[in-house]
Amino acid sequence: MNLFSAMEIIASGLCAQRTRLNLVASNLANAQTTRTPEGGPYRRRDPVFVTSPVTTRFQELRGDPLAQHASLVDVSEVAVDDTPPRMVYDPEHPDADTLGYVQMPNINVIEEMVNMMTASRAYEAGVTAMQTVRSLAEAALRLGQS
């Protein structure tokens, strides 16, 4: 393994967390959306994180028995939350049904805020990690100078 594979790993983490942040933003923005192109209220979206070994991006590391233990992270799919929508009694609402209930998105704003915070924290951790890798590379380049 080498420093560039470490950079790749960190970059994959940053990407995944940014995707997560985007989905959280989408959830928050659509917390009150009752109409969607696919019909019905907005459904909460969640990223599905999976690992993949770093050897998938670095061919020459396939011979290194240790390299399979270093994993990138990927968003394999965006899961749509299947839990039933919240029923809110609001007969004046244009989308109210015959009983006066409106189907509202199954989004808990507090939960989304917590997700946003953890995603930001993980993103910042990735940025710090990238800085350390850069300092290692710079130290290696100075090997000849005493």
Binding site: M1, N2, L3, S5, A6, I9, I10, S12, G13, A16, Q17, R20, F49, V50, T51, V54, P65, L66, A67, Q68, H69, A70, S71, L72, V73, T118, A119, R121, A122, A125, G126, T128, A129, T132, V133, S135, L136, A139, A140, R142, L143, G144, Q145, S146
Partner: protein, 131 residues
């Protein structure tokens, strides 16, 4: 004559070790939110003896890096760490711990490069009379 760089061999191994460890630590950090993920740690023989094998680790797969010319350290081994309490998604990563490890590992790598540079400088001086 080929023992010219013998004194630098353990440091060279240390550099390889710290790069491998950095990869595993960054991998743990990148997977802080991956469900079911268990953080990985890497040791080599001497270090394991020093730790007394007391960490709650279980060996997953063995990663061998044979280095017959390096005194002391033998093969490197990768372990999964399953600490007491995982998160709700089964993830065992502790971000603060990984960040601390990252900083410590970074210092050790940079220290090793400095030491190698000093060794090489001394060699050069003994050969040419100048740095």
């Amino acid at each position: 004559m080929s023992q010219l760089f013998e004194s630098v061999q353990p440091l060279s191994f240390a550099l390889d070790y710290h790069v491998a460890r950095h990869n595993l630590i960054t991998s743990n950090i990148a997977n802080v939110d991956t469900p079911g993920f268990r953080p990985r740690e890497i040791t080599f023989e001497n270090e394991l003896e020093r730790l007394g094998g007391s960490l709650p680790m279980q060996e997953t797969r063995e990663g061998h890096l044979p280095r017959p010319d390096a005194p002391g350290p033998g093969s490197m081994r990768v372990y999964e760490e399953t600490w007491a309490s995982p998160g709700a998604d089964g993830n065992f990563v502790r971000l603060e711990l990984e960040m601390s490890r990252l900083q410590a590992n970074s210092v050790r790598y940079r220290a090793a490069t400095q030491m190698v540079a000093q060794h090489l400088g001394m060699l050069r001086y003994s050969i040419t009379g100048r740095r």
